[in-house]
Subunit: 343 residues, 2 copies
């Protein structure tokens, strides 16, 4: 094939704390050549994820930091245009680590799953049926184990992961209480995502008292993507045997861990469990989980919101908005359209 330029967005300056658009720069690369067992693919959509906050920092994380000058790491979905793989053919749509670039080479082993565009819009493969879905499903269903009549509290409840987690708890018969940061998001929780109650933690004078009101029988499951003071407020109300899946710690940055009241005694007395997990450890189950969850999308029990940024160069501002909590729903950046979408 001919060699069009490959626009890339690189990390220009390492942020001290939260990434902003100014930390990134447009760069021009070349379209890479796939080796044996790899495909060349055209990026269709980029996923803007909270994990990106950690990826751009220097401090120890679960994956190496993105180097200054390097293409920003990103999940995305792409269409195979050249294949030296036995598994994926030209025209296949694959989800994986595309990076912020228009063309990418992905090894077979790094493809998370093949996307079936007839099941749901392709954008869901980087949203509710992608990383978001795996995060919500593994945390809520497999660690949280909500039971009928139990009380489940969800942090960042209007966000893409939180809203899916809350609906999964509801599907399993639980009563759901969402924590979120604006009155608009409270309404989204109640009206769109079926939470039984929702609390604006930014305007509530006493979060612990608000939780006590909203959870008269205590909290059986807390889906935690925040940590910190919010976790402490929840811990005051957990029931015996409570489960706390922990998929994020957005209340703190990796290189500046705050102090807090020690939590061991509370975990012991309530025989509670906290388990950290990452969706990336469960990519081998992406297809199975997407299939399960797509049934609930079809049945109307699982709703989602997307905020699609229409141009590749919007990726840094999409990230900045998500970090600032200004997004409503899953942030996705459109880079190109597949043949099937164009038809």
């Amino acid at each position: 094939m001919t060699n069009p330029p490959n626009r890339q967005i690189v990390l220009a300056v390492r942020p001290a704390a939260l990434p902003r658009a100014e930390h990134f720069a447009m760069s021009k690369g070349t379209v890479p050549e796939p080796a044996d067992g790899e495909v060349l693919a055209r990026t269709l959509l980029l996923s803007i994820d909270p994990a990106m906050r950690g990826w751009v920092l220097e401090s120890k994380n679960y994956v190496p930091a993105v180097p200054v000058g390097g293409v920003m790491r990103s999940f995305g979905v792409a269409e195979v245009v050249e294949s030296r793989s036995n598994r994926y053919q030209v025209g296949d749509i694959v989800a994986g680590l595309t990076g912020w670039q228009e063309w990418c080479v992905i090894a077979d082993a790094d493809v998370h799953r093949r996307v079936d565009p007839t099941l749901a819009p392709i954008s869901t493969s980087v949203g509710v049926l992608g990383l978001t879905g795996v995060t919500a499903y593994v945390g809520m269903v497999e660690i949280g184990k909500p039971t009928p009549g139990s009380t489940v509290v969800v942090s960042t409840a209007a966000g893409s992961v939180g809203s899916a987690a809350g609906q999964l708890a509801k599907i399993h018969g639980a009563r759901t209480v969402g924590l979120t940061g604006s009155d608009e998001k409270v309404r989204m929780c109640l009206d769109e995502f079926g939470f039984d109650a929702a609390i604006n933690y930014k305007t509530t004078p006493d979060l612990s008292a608000a939780l006590a009101d909203a959870c008269p029988d205590g909290i059986d499951v807390y889906f935690d993507s925040v940590g910190g003071d919010m976790l402490d407020a929840v811990l005051e109300h957990i029931t015996i045997g409570a489960r706390i899946p922990l998929c994020g710690t957005i209340s703190m940055v990796a290189n500046n861990i705050p102090m807090g009241k020690r939590i061991e005694r509370k975990l012991l007395v309530q025989r509670a469990l906290i388990r950290g997990y990452l969706a990336s450890d469960h990519f081998d189950r992406s297809e199975e989980i997407a299939t399960t969850m797509s049934q609930w999308i079809t049945s109307g029990q699982l709703r989602y919101r997307e905020e699609v940024f229409p141009r590749f160069e919007d990726a840094p501002i999409a990230l900045e908005r998500m970090v600032a909590g200004e997004n409503l729903g899953k942030s996705v950046v459109r880079v190109a359209y597949s043949d099937s979408e164009r038809q």
Copy 2:
């Protein structure tokens, strides 16, 4: 039957922090009458347990505080002398909550198990085959899940629970590292309980560095009965997917929780699990676990130490010594002998 006096030891003064012998007083009660579904039993042995520290404090705990003037709560083993139960007969030896008294009434539902005196000495039923065994087994085998070749660190490793937990890990193929508070206990860990390494945390200048030396492949399981700074040192070295069963928090008292560096980020990055649990939630499994573990006692793979105080009135000093870490092995107080023991 005639009514002999029933000597009891009561909580005379509520301790501000750690219980000492002076907080208790001898008292004289009457021998109680069993109601339907209850037995009257003669206390044979009392179990001195770390949980007693919490039972005598005012603050919220997993069971109500022992009231001032009330008989001290205690696990023990007793011989049935009068039965109004369909399940237990005169002569049966039962383990349960006897309290610090010579005679006790126990309801059927409160008997933890019937003790088979032919399996092992009766004292093991309040030791390695009792609460201790359930604590070690549930925590190490079922939450810790040690695998062959994995590295397991055990706190209070020369103690009754810790030494059993370490040997259970060893039986499951793990490499074991004990943390303990004296050079004598270090030797016990290595020579009696088969630990591959042992660290005197009181004399080690840098516990984290000592753990790094002793655990070159990181720590897969931490059996925690301590919490606090020791947990923080361990967390610096946990592997991905580490499991931390938490059965005690003896580094802190319930009414004075210290501050510490927040642990959520570490749990997330290492996808680690901390789970608080109490043996008392698993008493229904006492008999099954005792049977499993008695096989390893017979095979010589599971060794235990007991420190038997010979007189009922020694119970308060036995507790004080255990709280001060001066006991070597499980502390047991002899109150009376069963018929089978006298033969």
